[in-house]
Symmetry: D2
Subunit: 346 residues, 4 copies
């Protein structure tokens, strides 16, 4: 039994970590960090946790925390984790950072896109990008995990096999993504009000969204050359879920069976990536509440392009679930421990 602390436990992703860890047999939550709700009962912030969590919220003291727990999750805005980590802390505790602070290896790219001065660039190199299906072995030995972004997780997993096998031209990749509203966080902003989101769909951050360089970095590793893409996120009137529809030009003629074999080669043994049957399109409802990513593809011979699709729950595989999966790898638990719940439908 290990102990976990959560900094930022009252955001949507933080709360999802709580939900998942309550069902994890090897972990106990020892610290519910929340600067906004210090001393407030956690269940008063999230009434679903009534009679399940008795603890009150605590401040975000990483020093103290590193003494008391074995793993810290930082589910906080960009910049916070980067400003808190140091050698002493990393020597005592594993850190799984759900922010973008350690995801991008080139600190200049990070600073350009996030408009933040990085406070601890010396740990970027060491940090392991926690996309478990790709970096499983590296994760096991890490001290600091950069938990991937929601869009990058779904985008990368959807495209990875084709890119890695050199079947598509990396610079033709266009990713059109759609996300539920929990991705926008629990901040009280006009744009996230019910009446503003409901009965509406819009693109946002067109050609400027911060997840773009993160996706490009991962796809570039797969391609073996620098890849420059278009990424357009959209806000969908639903609570959870990300759907990625990605387009790329094929570098040679391929059959359905060949491409299916490629996807199976990478994912057939993966518990949390499901390659769907032919012509079955991923849908967010089929993964809701679970750690699955459903992927599939369609070859369009008319345009010589492939359409690659992925669906996942942005709060689970796109945030808290992947964080728990990383934790399981870090501590040698069963990788799927606490993550085996079936998707909830409807």
């Amino acid at each position: 039994m290990i102990k976990a602390g959560i900094i930022g436990s009252t955001g949507y992703a933080g709360q999802e970590i709580v939900r998942l860890l309550l069902g994890h047999k090897d972990v106990e939550i020892a610290w519910y960090g929340s600067r906004s709700y210090i001393d407030k009962k956690y269940y008063e912030v999230y009434q679903n946790m009534f009679q399940l969590v008795e603890a009150s919220c605590l401040d975000d003291n990483m020093e103290e925390l590193s003494e008391k727990v074995d793993v810290i999750f930082t589910a906080t805005p960009q910049g916070l984790c980067g400003s808190l980590v140091n050698e002493e802390i990393l020597s005592k505790v594993k850190i799984i950072d759900l922010s973008a602070d350690f995801r991008i290896k080139d600190v200049k790219v990070y600073e350009d896109w996030y408009k933040i001065k990085h406070q601890s660039p010396e740990y970027i190199e060491e940090a392991v990008y926690g996309l478990c299906e790709i970096n499983r072995e590296k994760i096991k030995g890490a001290r600091l995990i950069a938990n991937p972004g929601c869009y990058p997780t779904c985008s990368t997993l959807s495209i990875y096999p084709m890119m890695k096998e050199g079947l598509i031209d990396g610079n033709t990749v266009i990713i059109d993504a759609k996300s539920g509203t929990s991705g926008a966080g629990r901040g009280a902003k006009l744009d996230n009000l019910y009446c503003e989101v409901n009965e509406n769909i819009k693109a946002y951050g067109v050609a400027t969204h911060r997840h773009t360089p993160e996706i490009e970095e991962q796809l570039s590793y797969a391609a073996g050359y620098p890849v420059c893409i278009n990424f357009t996120p959209h806000l969908v009137p639903m609570n959870r879920g990300i759907l990625v529809t990605a387009y790329a030009s094929l570098k040679k003629e391929v059959s359905y069976e060949e491409v299916k074999a490629v996807y199976d080669q990478y994912y057939a043994k993966e518990r949390f990536v499901r390659v769907l049957d032919k012509d079955v399109c991923p849908q967010t409802r089929w993964v809701e509440g679970s750690n699955f990513v459903d992927v599939n593809f369609k070859i369009d011979p008319r345009t010589n392009r492939i359409i690659m699709m992925g669906a996942m729950d942005n709060l689970v595989k796109g945030a808290a679930g992947q964080a728990v999966q990383n934790m399981n790898l870090l501590f040698g638990f069963e990788e799927s421990e606490g993550l085996l719940m079936a998707p909830v439908f409807p």
Copy 2:
């Protein structure tokens, strides 16, 4: 490890039983019954079950089923279970019927409200009404469980303590209930289309809904005299959840503390009924995906009435979850086994 069969496994309630049993350590599903989808892979009907359920759907053969399993769930329209049970079957297998066939003790009342001739009235007396918090001991020894309706579960649990203690006048009870759309089932009907339900609220079955006599029967047991009530259900544009707002005249002046003590007396030790803190109103979002019923009340001294409220997930505590809870009681498992997941929010 016992074996379970589900007749009607491709309705929303049937699928929810599947979801819950997949997380239950003592049960294996041996029969996915579905007359509409015979020989079709279960996961082709419910894509969330891809790679989780390999079985195909089977016909509704209760004879054969009774040889192969230890418990049968019938998640089927009214009349089906009543037409299938017989002494031989009941001697071999436990039956948990999610339809209304065995809920109402007076067969005439059943036939009047349901406009169906009961096919096996001889088993009505024996059947135990599976509202676990009220009938726990009787359930343990039963062969045939009448799993309560969704509205009756939430209504009865919200009102029961006040009625049992004689604090309210039974004939002043008015129940105004609101349900998510999964309660209407998965039938392809115009009224349940997205565009017809979305951005809408309506009452239905006003003064004629079939759950009325079921609620009245349970409240009458609690009151000790025959109770006649108003019950009005409403359809809400959401997938899951039932909210009950019930009104009744107080028979004497009572304080908040006195009433709170009454609720605690009945529910403080109950795992799945949560009496909320003062002035916290039950909300369906806080119980979604879980087996909890959240209840609370408000005394209105101006009108000398009490407003009693309850919220639950209609597919869990209102159907599949309660069915599993009943199964746990029947087989001597931990009552909460397979039902301890925290509510999913948002």
Copy 3:
């Protein structure tokens, strides 16, 4: 052609006044008041008005406004209109106040429920409660209109004929109301975020909602004696719409035909109140975007109660539409001018 000014034009109700007046042939909007967005283009706040409204937002200067326009709509929080009106202003301009400041005749009741000191109680007596179907003649000659609240409009119109004809016992009235989220306004509050409202229903303000005394006052006028009721509002995951389900004990046995005749007596000639056919329940989707209130009832002989139902669009008949209807009466326009659009479905 008259000129109108709107104080609070960037709230949801204020914007709905704009939408309706754009389609009104006798009115021009001369002042878009909005303290929060001074000097900002109106269409930048409400992008639906792009190329339809060129004006920028102005401060809330009622003195200046009274020189420039013929009618002022105050779509503002409680207390503001009361703090601004005076004899000089009222001598120059008609005021239609969408807040509660002048709705309740007993200033003490207002101050008790709203926890506000009334700044101009001397105008309460003069103000006319702008429920057009009930107070049509008085409205025509008024200087100051108290535009009714959304819940009171729907509740009163649903119950009025039964109360006025003495067919129900006023003190048995229980109103269970359900509202879309636009009723909560456009303030950036956590409780109104998409993820908090979506997939949820809850009661709020139980036994304490401020519309209670307003409804009681109107029902008391109808009854001829003081009426004390229960009123419970609920928040529904939809943008627009209010549904009222009201219960009362019948004072004598009545048939469907008798009650229908009573409703027709009051509403058959009313353009905006539609008494539905037998057994057709009001639904909010059938009135969305329009000024209609759909009403109907069901007699329950088992309990000797009548269930009275009403559905309307909270932003139209419940706010801006009724305000325009009042304006039409004040200025001698056709009462339905600008309000004849059919409901938008789906």
Copy 4:
């Protein structure tokens, strides 16, 4: 005053024609055709029309209809209009066909994509594609209008100026489109049930959707060469609205101002196409219930692509509104008559 007949008046698009024509000063609806509801009161099918439409539904008799009305709208499945038109009918009455029967000039392409044998290919040449902003003059003199599909309207208008001016490479166009559920029609299908659509997003018809050749044909006219594109529609949990996000490679370096000038050249004088301000993304909520198409674009110098976006109400500009706009052109009415209502928000 002309008379209109609607074949298929009880589908969502048909009902929207009814709604719009009720607010049109020069048209009277003389025939509510609906094979499914013959002799049923129209308002019983669409309760929003209670007291607004007294007529009953009639059969789809085009012969008889052509004697009685001046214009026929066919809001029917593919194949019906094509099977009904003949010279005699066309000599008596104008036809505005909302199906795809006469949209595609190459009958083989139509038959390949729609899997239907065209019953009257002899009228394809004559039929005018009713995209008013592009084909205004031709429409005025037509007998038979092929009212554009919803996706093609939004896609073509979003991309047209760039294609016509030769600024983009036609064969790099990728259209990722998102639609509300009313686009799926009012048929009682499992896939369109509330619980199946709500809290979900999915692509469908990937690389095979029938609107693809229609879009390609229109874009090819603009380009001056045959264009082959990718088009992927998605189903969004909302009632109304289409959003198009289109990608294309720029043929030369262009500035924001240059592209803005191109869009303004085509649309500045158009009443129903609004080119938004810089960096304002089209959103479906801002056009709901109206005939507007909001368009905008973003240049991405990193990838040398342009992202073109458009939002409209699929039932208005994407179906019934455009049909009415075509009717206005056909009969010499003001083009915007009956279509000037402001968008309804929220």
